[in-house]
């Protein structure tokens, strides 16, 4: 299997605002009604088509480490996109975007990562505490997209990820035209996972054969 692009998206935001549910909705089109928050959610792989391009997405969840604000800085390494989630029925989770999460992202995420704001629980409009205008003002000031979604019903989840993916593709395409931006891209070449999956120089993702290459000494 081959892809035109491989992108890493990390999802951040307060505990219990529904990050894992959004990720599961998009990756597996499922919703977990149980309230075991984030146990076992790691990362998901999903391939989508965007025009003529086949794009492989690595969707990374915090694995619950945001509860005491202990996300490790390598979580953000090599991220192409950051999805910053708040719960629109919980005003504090929105306030914490500026108090904490945007600062964290600025400190640890790559400077050219694409940011998106996502308000979850759009199906609970009666309990809404953060109105759209207010969130839109923050998004405009930051120059980023805003989506209101519901992981429970699936509203806008697909659209949010597609928009983020298109923005990442656009940025990486534009970036290759400027030598100063290409520094980040170069870092990805020839690095590999030890379970046999190698990223090629072009950023494509290729699998090794089931068996590792034969040792040179035979």
């Amino acid at each position: 299997m081959s892809y035109n692009h491989l992108f890493k998206i990390v999802v951040v935001g307060d505990h219990n605002c529904g990050k894992s549910c959004i990720l599961l909705r998009f990756a597996e089109n499922s919703f977990r009604m149980d309230h075991i928050s984030t146990l076992g959610v790691d990362f998901k792989l999903k391939t989508i088509k965007l025009g003529r391009d086949k794009i492989r997405l690595e969707l990374w969840d915090t694995a619950g480490m945001e509860r005491y604000r202990t996300i490790y800085n390598s979580y953000y390494h090599s991220a192409h996109g950051v999805m910053c989630v708040y719960d629109m029925t919980n005003e504090k989770s929105f306030e914490n975007l500026e108090k904490y999460w945007l600062k964290e992202i600025k400190q640890h995420a790559p400077p050219n990562a694409v940011l998106m704001l996502v308000g979850n629980k759009a199906d609970m409009d009666q309990e809404r505490k953060v109105d759209f205008d207010r969130a839109e003002k923050l998004a405009s000031r930051l120059g980023v997209s805003l989506y209101e979604v519901s992981a429970k019903t699936g509203i806008n989840c697909e659209e949010a990820f597609h928009t983020l993916t298109a923005a990442m593709r656009e940025r990486i395409t534009a970036g290759s035209m400027h030598s100063d931006e290409s520094d980040d891209n170069e870092e990805f070449s020839s690095a590999f996972h030890v379970d046999g999956v190698i990223k090629s120089d072009k950023g494509k993702f290729t699998s090794c054969c089931a068996s590792a290459p034969e040792p040179a000494f035979v």
Partner: protein
């Protein structure tokens, strides 16, 4: 954020160094409930990596002793027959000196200013404990079995250099061929040396198929005598002996024929697995691995809390029953702790002092067309010392900005020559001028006991080149403490339920 800690867990882990992270992940994976705490705001403890902006944190871990009023306040959390025990704060990393080095009048701006203005300070990843991975070693195996491999990326250490020193020429750095192809192309070896080396490699290939006893017989009277003697009787000359012992045999210090052969076979077994070199280095530096194992623990339910000081532990009937962190009591059945926290009343059974210096430079110790990740074994220049090596990593490993390098010198403290002296000789010979340096002593402390039967003391930092002993010690500690549980068992590979896009759509697009 002041969210409450849980009231009770199976295991509290203190410290987020690599061994503590491995043990936390093994416990969580085995179904135990885990609370993982670190006094620092960052992961890694004594095994951390730092950006250039944050590296000063390594000097700022001063912890005050509990005073009598604090002790009496915490004692209110105790019940009958319980005893409050203050945690230790041992100097695992000490004598830290950090300095920017002015480089002369031709420099318009100091390097520090240049880096700050270009926002490059965060591009550094400065390791306290730089190690490499052996392609077929215990760490790679554990990464694959546990699937922590998903979280980490690696680069080949694609250059090994063998130093030779003469009074006239000083220290020369000779590239080491690691594979058959490289051996034939090498300029560093004569034709005769290549033949002798190929003969040795062929012997290794055959020898590695024997069992231990049979292998020992083949070495005959040389088995427990110096490896160099065995090589000499095989017709290997002095220069090539040094090359074999210090590069192919790098995994074993001061080898006998038996241990030298084992090390050489291990080396060659790893060549070609991921590329021509047997060694790997983690992208973004070695501190990354602690974070990766912590993530696995979190995926299996471990709770993480940084920056919350653990003030004391609670003991009853020879067992630890709880920890007290930030005024909260957390009951637990076991504690895993970094050696740093072992109570001061418990004596260390041994302490090894490791000399460490990190230099930042803007030129490689041996220039090449493409940037290399480099390993040098300095054993031939410090024959009295058990450990002497240099690791140079830069932009390719995401540990320095483009055009910059970090040079890590590591040595045990024996003999008259320090590893620092040799590093600086190499710089001078190759016209490398470091612009920043950090030196410290790492204390590798071992404990036979931690003062209570349900306390596990994690392995200490060590001077070993690779991770095998850390992984194996963690495995043994885990299996001794929880004999009925599996240590990071091989995970079932998730089936990627990817549906191929129908080709009709492709045709329609066109």
């Amino acid at each position: 954020m002041d969210e409450k800690l849980p009231e009770s867990v199976d295991v509290v882990v203190l410290g987020t160094g690599l061994p503590e992270a491995i043990l936390a992940s093994a416990c969580a994976r085995a179904g135990l409930s885990v609370l993982h705490l670190d006094r620092n705001e960052y992961y890694g403890g004594d095994w951390s990596s730092f950006t250039m902006s944050m590296v000063h944190e390594v000097t700022e871990n001063q912890v005050k002793k509990l005073d009598s009023s604090e002790i009496s306040k915490l004692s209110e959390l105790l019940t009958e027959n319980e005893q409050l025990i203050e945690l230790g704060n041992r100097e695992i990393v000490e004598n830290i000196e950090m300095t920017w080095i002015p480089r002369g009048k031709d420099e318009e701006k100091p390097m520090k200013t240049q880096l700050e203005e270009a926002s490059q300070m965060r591009r550094f990843s400065i390791d306290l404990v730089p190690k490499i991975l052996l392609s077929k070693g215990a760490m790679v195996q554990t990464l694959c079995d546990s699937q922590v491999s998903h979280y980490a990326e690696f680069k080949l250490v694609n250059r090994q250099l063998c130093p030779t020193e003469t009074p006239e020429a000083g220290i020369t750095l000779n590239p080491v061929p690691c594979s058959k192809g490289e051996i034939f192309q090498s300029n560093a070896l004569s034709i005769l040396e290549k033949r002798a080396l190929m003969k040795f490699i062929t012997f290794c290939t055959q020898w590695s198929t024997k069992d231990t006893e049979e292998g020992r017989k083949l070495l005959a009277e040389h088995a427990d005598r110096p490896f160099s003697e065995f090589l000499e009787q095989m017709g290997v000359g002095k220069t090539l002996q040094s090359f074999i012992i210090n590069t192919i045999g790098i995994l074993q210090q001061r080898p006998t024929a038996m241990t030298g052969m084992l090390a050489s076979c291990q080396f060659m077994d790893s060549v070609g697995h991921f590329g021509p070199s047997p060694f790997l280095f983690p992208l973004y530096g070695c501190g990354e691995l602690s974070q990766c194992f912590c993530r696995l623990a979190a995926v299996f339910g471990s709770l993480y809390c940084l920056g919350r000081p653990v003030q004391a532990i609670v003991k009853k009937d020879g067992k630890i029953t709880a920890v007290i962190a930030n005024g909260d009591r957390v009951n637990c059945r076991y504690i895993v702790m970094s050696p740093r926290f072992v109570p001061e009343t418990v004596p260390a059974s041994s302490t090894l002092k490791i000399e460490r210096i990190v230099y930042a430079t803007d030129k490689s110790i041996k220039e090449a067309e493409k940037e290399q990740l480099t390993l040098l074994n300095l054993a031939s220049l410090r024959p009295d010392a058990a450990v002497s090596r240099l690791v140079e990593v830069g932009f390719e490993a995401c540990t320095a900005p483009k055009g910059h390098f970090l040079v890590h010198a590591t040595g045990t403290q024996e003999g008259e020559t320090s590893v620092k002296t040799i590093a600086e000789k190499i710089f001078e010979k190759n016209e490398v001028e470091p612009y920043w340096k950090m030196s410290f002593t790492a204390n590798s402390m071992k404990f036979d006991t931690a003062g209570a039967e349900n306390v596990v003391v994690a392995p200490p930092v060590d001077a070993n080149l690779h991770y095998a002993s850390v992984v194996e010690e963690c495995r043994q500690l885990f299996c001794t403490t929880w004999p009925e549980l599996d240590f990071l068992p091989r995970a079932m590979k998730k089936e990627e339920e990817e549906e191929e896009e129908p080709e009709t759509e492709e045709i329609a697009e066109n």
